[in-house]
């Protein structure tokens, strides 16, 4: 057993009490009137957060299930998809498409960087057969965000390619007006910036995407979008959904809309600015290129001679603050702070102070207190 922890992870994020309470509403029939009301409200509100007039499908699955849903529905076997890769989740996206027979054209961007629109345009110019461009908006493994996403979308459209965006870790935490940016399929998950528990993936589908989807025979039944569209007409899902998680996500959506979607996003940006100022103030450096740094995952290089594992353990056990290490080869060379969902100055100063204290105890010679000192002015107009 352990005392309550502050989860400063790139997901799952901290769940508000009102969301927990909603999750415990008494179980209902997923084929009955109460579920129909829930389904309708959740879908309508979710579309406001996605900023889309398209369809929004909720799947009982983690975010990767949402990606598999896109990969198994949109392209026919052998069709080409361009996937920029700059980290673990880009690799996973490419791999998901390959599993369902797509011909994946990888655009290797390099770890810590984000694809530029010019790179995508060039790749599209070289290969007229590309039918879709699939991009990780926020690469959680390295803390980068694709700042040129709208221009990449425009390039895809010019080329006549479908634009698929994996926004699992970022929707709700940074700008992402799905329709305005021409995104045909946008995927996110419940446990990141939407502040609900994990287990629901959300997939938006545009008219153009439906045209592609209608061409093929289903390669998955569980993720068959045409079934979900058919059942959505009666406000149901084809298979028993995770009703309790739908209750939770429905409440989280209401909370975000009460706050205002743009204000909710703005909090993430303000908190991110404070984190970057604080860690820089402590003399630490960031893994991501300056122009591509994420507002929802801060990836910080470990200072020399300090064990990443020891620091994380100390943060968790002594200070009750849970941060993440790196993925794969970055396991011990970076640590990652999630800035998702419940984002207030309290989370920022707690995480910054605890990190300073833990590093100091482990012999880091950065000046203790400098991180907090650097964060305070940035937090002034939160």
């Amino acid at each position: 057993m352990s005392l309550p922890q502050l989860l400063m992870l790139p997901g799952p994020s901290n769940v508000p009490a009102r969301v927990y309470a909603a999750m415990c509403k008494p179980m209902i029939n997923h084929r009955g009137a109460e579920f129909h009301d829930l389904f309708e409200r959740m879908t309508t509100n979710g579309k406001k957060i996605f900023k889309t007039e398209g369809d929004l499908i909720a799947l009982t699955a983690s975010g990767t299930g949402g990606v598999e849903c896109a990969a198994s529905n949109v392209l026919l076997p052998g069709e080409k998809v361009l996937v920029p890769v700059c980290g673990t989740f880009g690799e996973r996206l490419a791999s998901n498409f390959r599993t369902f027979g797509a011909n994946v054209v990888e655009l290797n961007v390099g770890m810590g960087r984000a694809p530029a629109a010019a790179q995508v345009e060039e790749a599209l110019r070289k290969d007229r057969e590309i039918k879709a461009v699939a991009v990780i908006y926020n690469e959680t493994s390295t803390g980068t965000t694709v700042r040129e996403l709208p221009a990449i979308g425009a390039a895809a459209k010019d080329h006549g390619a479908l634009f698929i965006v994996d926004a699992i870790s970022v929707l709700g935490g940074d700008d992402l007006p799905v329709d305005k940016w021409g995104i045909d399929v946008c995927i996110t998950a419940s446990q990141k910036c939407l502040a609900a528990p994990p287990g629901v993936a959300l997939v938006s589908v545009s008219k153009d995407a439906w045209k592609m989807i209608e061409r093929g025979k289903p390669r998955s039944e569980y993720f068959n979008l045409l079934s979900y569209r058919q059942f959505a007409e009666k406000k149901e899902t084809p298979f028993t959904p995770a009703v309790s998680l739908f209750f939770a996500l429905d409440e989280a959506f209401q909370m975000i809309l009460e706050y205002g979607v743009d204000a909710w996003i703005a909090r993430h940006k303000k908190a991110a600015a404070a984190y970057y100022a604080a860690f820089k103030g402590m003399g630490l450096t960031f893994f991501a290129d300056e122009g591509s740094r994420s507002n929802v995952v801060i990836a910080i290089n470990m200072p020399p001679k300090i064990s990443a594992k020891e620091m994380r353990d100390r943060l968790r056990k002594k200070y009750g603050v849970v941060v993440a290490g790196g993925f794969g080869s970055l396991k011990d060379s970076i640590f990652r702070v999630g800035n998702m969902g419940i984002v207030t100055p309290r989370e920022v100063i707690t995480t910054v102070s605890a990190t300073e204290a833990a590093l100091s105890e482990l012999g880091f010679t950065g000046v203790t207190g400098e991180g907090l000192r650097a964060a305070i002015p940035v937090l002034r107009d939160f």
Copy 2:
């Protein structure tokens, strides 16, 4: 809004308060020590309920996701699987295998019946190429249970075929010793006889099943059993699991083990006997053949001239008791009472009395009170 309801559905079933409470434990890191403890305890306890020494994999998905997992992992494209079909879920099982390229040999048993071992043996004799036998143990759509399941398993083994059992609606509610009955892959879901909310599918995997699985390249990443096995070594799942639902299911498993697995199953049998006596006492008839009647889903023929929808609406709105209609062509000709999870004499007498009252109000001339009168002696030694 509606007042609390008694869910007498074939899933989701009523969730005990202690399971709701566990579901709201504070969120944890799914890559941390607390999750490892949860994973280990839940897996160990789950195996006791499955009565298997094999592996047990928990998926964030509904039961159909578990079926898709089996269908996409076990057989190579073109390999033959024998699937007895006697209802909607049998059809779905066959369809799932087809989607992943299997050559499905359907054994049409007829609605309301259950496959006999002799039928399976004959089908296997006729076709030496069959590599697997996949059976719905409890056909939820018609209220039948395969009473000759052990003999069917033995026939599959004699033939050298893998034995796959979809026990989604029944595991925990009727006899199903997985290893003893030679079941290689057994699938269930959280929201039926295990008394947890929906959203987790469980799949047991025998050594022989692993040998089959190891032959193929993955046709799904989300449902790739080899990934789940690999991550299980460090007590984790490959993708972010529905942590809150894992907490809930873990608590439900503990509850069932405190009660005793066999005693938990026995309650379902005793309650089922009371239901069958009660509805028969009311002059109603059952959809399923007498020898194949399910202990967890009681499928009752609607009496003539009474609208199934009106009866269900009255039960729900006036009496707060939610029962299910039929599937597809049976929609208005049967109603189904779930007998799953929290099963006490209280659920039985409430459901029986409410049904009698509702039918009486709708003009049914069966003698009111006769159902309860028939149930009472059967409930005596509950």
